[in-house]
């Protein structure tokens, strides 16, 4: 368009057309400068949840920090891999946080190095890009594959006593009988003691002592390693969620049963990095 008007200006010697041409050219220049400036002075901080499982959407927090003094950041898209999030405006000297779901397709170590800032500001004629140097190492745990312990464990595994139900329960040994307190569930009322004493009595049961689970990864029935890892991860997560200490033996390494979050992270990390250097 500018070239067309410029051509007309030269060949008609019409100074008003010259004015239009010079204005359009200077606009091209100024819009270029503004577009460039719009991506400068910006920082990106990514906020990941502590647990990331392959194949499960991970909510990623993207914080765009505008370090500039005067100019807001307009229409800035932060792209990580194939996913991105658009910040309509971030005022100077402030930051803005947006979330998007990210799915890691495989377990193991992921290095996020490609964060790209892009913007069509000021005019939707060009898209400008800027790569933000960002090296973030992430461990993605194996995907969770629902299963039961029995289905996973090898035939030669021996169970002592009853096979544990994988579902958490509330029944356990009787600790004591006390006076009824308003709000106690009716099913815990000891009718026998109530009849004897003439007062409402409630049974106090002991918290069931969770059995320790120790999974020997190399003895699992599942021959597909990835499926085995996913199933093991599921069992570990569910057990620890239920407060059951769980341990792991894998490739000669042994992790004693525990139900802490730190233990969970450690064990899941080990599973995530299985077979990777």
């Amino acid at each position: 368009m500018t070239i067309f008007i410029g051509f007309s200006a030269v060949n008609t010697a019409n100074n008003l057309l010259y004015i239009m041409t010079s204005t359009l050219l200077s606009y091209m220049l100024v819009s270029g400068i503004f577009g460039r400036r719009n991506l400068r002075g910006l920082d990106v901080v990514l906020e990941f949840p502590e647990e990331r499982f392959a194949g499960t959407p991970v909510p990623v927090g993207v914080r765009l920090i505008n370090r500039r003094r005067f100019m807001p950041a307009f229409l800035t898209r932060v792209t990580i891999g194939a996913e991105g999030v658009l910040f309509p405006i971030v005022n100077p000297g402030t930051s803005s946080l947006l979330h998007f779901d990210m799915i890691f397709d495989r377990r193991g170590r992921h290095t996020l190095s490609g964060i790209t800032l892009s913007s069509i500001f000021p005019f939707n004629f060009f898209t400008r890009y800027r790569r933000v140097p960002h090296n973030l190492d992430l461990i993605v745990f194996p995907g969770l594959r629902p299963c039961t312990l029995q289905s996973l464990l090898a035939d030669r595994t021996r169970w002592r006593g009853e096979a544990p139900s994988d579902q958490p329960g509330t029944d356990s040994d009787l600790l004591s009988i006390r006076d009824y307190v308003f709000g106690d569930a009716l099913k815990y009322i000891s009718w026998k003691a109530t009849a004897k004493t003439g007062q409402l009595k409630t049974k106090e049961l002991a918290t069931p002592e969770p059995p320790n689970i120790l999974i020997d990864f190399n003895k699992l029935r599942e021959s597909n390693v990835e499926l085995a890892l996913s199933s093991t991860a599921f069992l570990i997560v569910r057990a620890i969620h239920a407060g059951t200490p769980v341990g792991l033996i894998i490739d000669g390494e042994s992790y004693q049963p525990s139900a802490t979050q730190a233990h969970k992270t450690m064990v899941l990390t080990r599973l995530a990095l299985h077979g990777q250097n």
């Binding site: 030269v10 008609t12 010697a13 100074n15 041409t21 400068i33 400068r40 069509i120 939707n124």
Partner: protein, 639 residues
């Protein structure tokens, strides 16, 4: 909160109003009416969804409009049909369900309309329209970028304000750049599409035929006829000569080719001092060039818009032209070989009553005295200047001299010329302008149609042609043609802008570009170290410096936006110094870890205070105060 779509709608209609407004007076009424109806329908559709017109129908109509416009185009009428079609296309686009590309097309069509307007008019109002249009379009295009992401996006008023501020900033920054580009963009001395320019148009008011007894009153016309750039001269000398009217048939004075030829021959001897003028003549549809009486030479500046070469007194002026004239500032000038019989000719048996009057006035006096007597008779007699109640008669001169005794300059001058001829003195009329308002800012005389005047030249053997102005009001005429009223003074002020617009912008061409380059080269190769500034120079330098500083400040604000903060600069300085000692920090290494890696104890001890102080503030999100910064600087010096 505001919807982007609503704001865009407002801005788009603003752009359309501006673009169509600038060409409205050149459009055919039917097209303008069509545009208005369609636009109103578009507004109604947007507001109340009155009717939804299918896109294929709109596209088909657009095609039809273009084809029809194509049939109307001819070498004589080239631009107008295109403009007519464009406004209808704009209205049709407004009717569509507007997606981002439709909006872009509307802005593009508006831009085409502005381009078209430049080929029709060179008015300064274009600059105002273009500026407003650019501001609106910039804001609209930025919002369009939001619209592309989400057409239903809603933003806060504060965000909208920031977007509009960006548009304004972009516009302000592009201004100085546009000026520079305007000056340096390549130009050619031989443009070949000048036929597209169709600027200017004839004005009424000046005629080379004076007809008496036709109208009873004359309306005063304040339209500018020309501006003459020159030094101010004595008001009594401001006779702008245009045409010589030498033939009188009893009712009409006309110019013969012989008189026109004589005009091109300058005076034989230069008797007084000369003055030069650069005249910017408006298109007025006649062929005469004006200059102070008596012009000796004309040099017409080659008009870049013109296909034809302007020859003084031959080419009709239908476009604004510029020429230089040199004039002899004298009340009389000699001319050899005057055809006395021609300048004494009167219709046979013309006005016997006037002849009797002349005889009684001049008797047997010598020629000089005859002139004096007749001149005094008209100027100091019972005759009054008037633009109303003019004699409408088949014998207008007699009616004027003996009945009404009121008339304008045409009656006074005609009467004197006729009476001189009756007294045996060769005489003729000279048509042109008298007076003019001097604009000290632009250093030019502004002459309007109201200054149109006719005077007499009498030929005396010892003096040559002697200028005589018998009109009594002539002395009071027109040095203040625009009056003293405030709005007229304002008009004069606006005229200054108009004058500079034409002088600086419209007339800027290849020649001036070359002159400018040469002047700069001259200045560089031979710098003039003498500096004797006058007030105007100091003012210019001050204004220029002020503008430069303002632009620089704006640019600095923009570019400084992404600069490092003070503490970051200090940290970078620290890392540079450590690197100079042979210890480079790894990208993801913390300062503490980095320091632990330094095995030179003395260096580590010297670096420790900086790292401690820096971390104390930086990692605890505290403010870096002046004191902290000073302290850090001090630690840095120790490294």
């Amino acid at each position: 909160m505001v919807r982007i779509r609503t704001v865009l709608q407002g801005l788009t209609y603003g752009c359309v109003v501006l673009a169509v407004g600038v060409v409205a007076e050149h459009l055919e009424k039917s097209h303008l009416l069509g545009f208005l109806c369609l636009s109103l329908l578009a507004l109604a559709c947007e507001q109340w969804r009155v009717v939804e017109i299918p896109r294929w129908l709109l596209n088909g109509s657009s095609l039809g409009i273009l084809v029809l416009a194509g049939f109307r185009i001819s070498p004589e009428v080239l631009i107008e049909p295109i403009l007519d079609a464009l406004v209808i296309l704009v209205a049709i686009k407004l009717l569509e369900d507007k997606k981002s590309r439709d909006l872009l097309q509307i802005y593009l069509l508006c831009l085409f309309l502005l381009v078209g307007s430049t080929l029709i008019s060179l008015s300064i109002s274009f600059l105002v329209t273009l500026s407003l249009f650019l501001m609106l379009v910039t804001a609209a295009l930025i919002l369009l970028a939001y619209f592309v992401h989400n057409p239903e996006m809603v933003i806060s008023k504060a965000t909208l304000g920031k977007v509009l501020l960006q548009a304004l900033l972009m516009f302000s920054l592009s201004l100085p750049m546009s000026v520079l580009l305007f000056l340096i963009l390549p130009r050619t001395a031989y443009p070949f599409l000048t036929f597209l320019n169709k600027t200017g148009g004839a004005q009424s008011g000046f005629t080379d035929t004076i007809s008496l007894g036709q109208v009873a009153a004359i309306q005063e016309d304040y339209a500018v006829i020309f501006r003459a750039e020159m030094e101010q001269v004595d008001e009594s000398r401001l006779f702008w000569r245009g045409v010589v009217l030498d033939e009188f048939d009893g009712l009409r004075w006309q110019s013969t080719p012989a008189a026109a030829r004589e005009e091109l021959v300058g005076p034989e001897r230069v008797l007084g001092h000369t003055t030069e003028q650069t005249v910017y003549l408006e298109p007025y549809g006649n062929r005469y060039l004006f200059a102070l009486d008596k012009p000796m030479t004309f040099a017409v500046h080659r008009n870049k818009h013109s296909r034809t070469r302007i020859t003084p007194f031959k080419t009709k002026i239908f476009e604004r032209i510029r020429y230089r004239a040199t004039s002899l500032m004298a009340t009389s000038f000699p001319q050899p070989g005057v055809d006395r019989a021609h300048y004494l000719a009167l219709p046979h048996g013309f006005a016997p009553r006037v002849r009797t009057l002349v005889q009684s006035l001049v008797g047997q006096k010598p020629p000089n005295e005859r002139v004096q007597v007749l001149f005094s008779f008209l100027q100091r007699g019972a005759y009054a200047y008037s633009l109303e109640e003019l004699p409408v008669s088949k014998a207008p001169l007699e009616a004027f001299l003996f009945v009404t005794k009121r008339g304008n300059c045409e009656y006074f001058a005609s009467s004197l010329a006729v009476m001189l001829r009756m007294a045996g003195i060769p005489a003729r009329l000279v048509g042109g302008y008298k007076g003019g308002h001097y604009n000290p800012t632009g250093k030019y005389y502004l002459v309007s149609q109201r200054n149109a005047h006719v005077w007499v030249e009498a030929y005396l053997p010892d003096l040559g042609w002697l200028r005589l102005d018998p009109t009594p009001a002539a002395a009071a005429l027109a040095s203040h043609p625009l009056g003293r009223q405030v709005f007229l003074q304002l008009r004069l002020l606006l005229d200054t802008f108009n004058y500079y617009w034409h002088k600086v912008i419209i007339d800027y061409d290849f020649t001036r570009q070359v002159q400018m380059v040469n002047a700069i080269r001259e200045r560089i190769s031979r710098p003039d170290l003498r500096f004797t500034p006058d007030l105007a120079t100091i003012m210019k330098i001050s204004v220029g410096t002020g503008l430069f500083l303002a632009c620089s400040l704006l640019l600095w604000a923009l570019f400084a936006a992404g600069r490092q903060r003070r503490e970051e600069r200090l940290l970078a300085g620290f890392l540079r110094r450590m690197a100079a000692h042979g210890y480079a920090k790894f990208p993801h290494e913390g300062l503490e870890e980095f320091l632990e890696r330094v095995d030179r104890e003395d260096l580590r001890a010297r670096a420790r205070p900086f790292v401690d102080d820096f971390q104390q503030v930086y990692y605890r999100d505290r403010e870096f105060t002046r004191k902290t910064i000073e302290g850090l600087r001090l630690h840095l010096k120790g490294l």
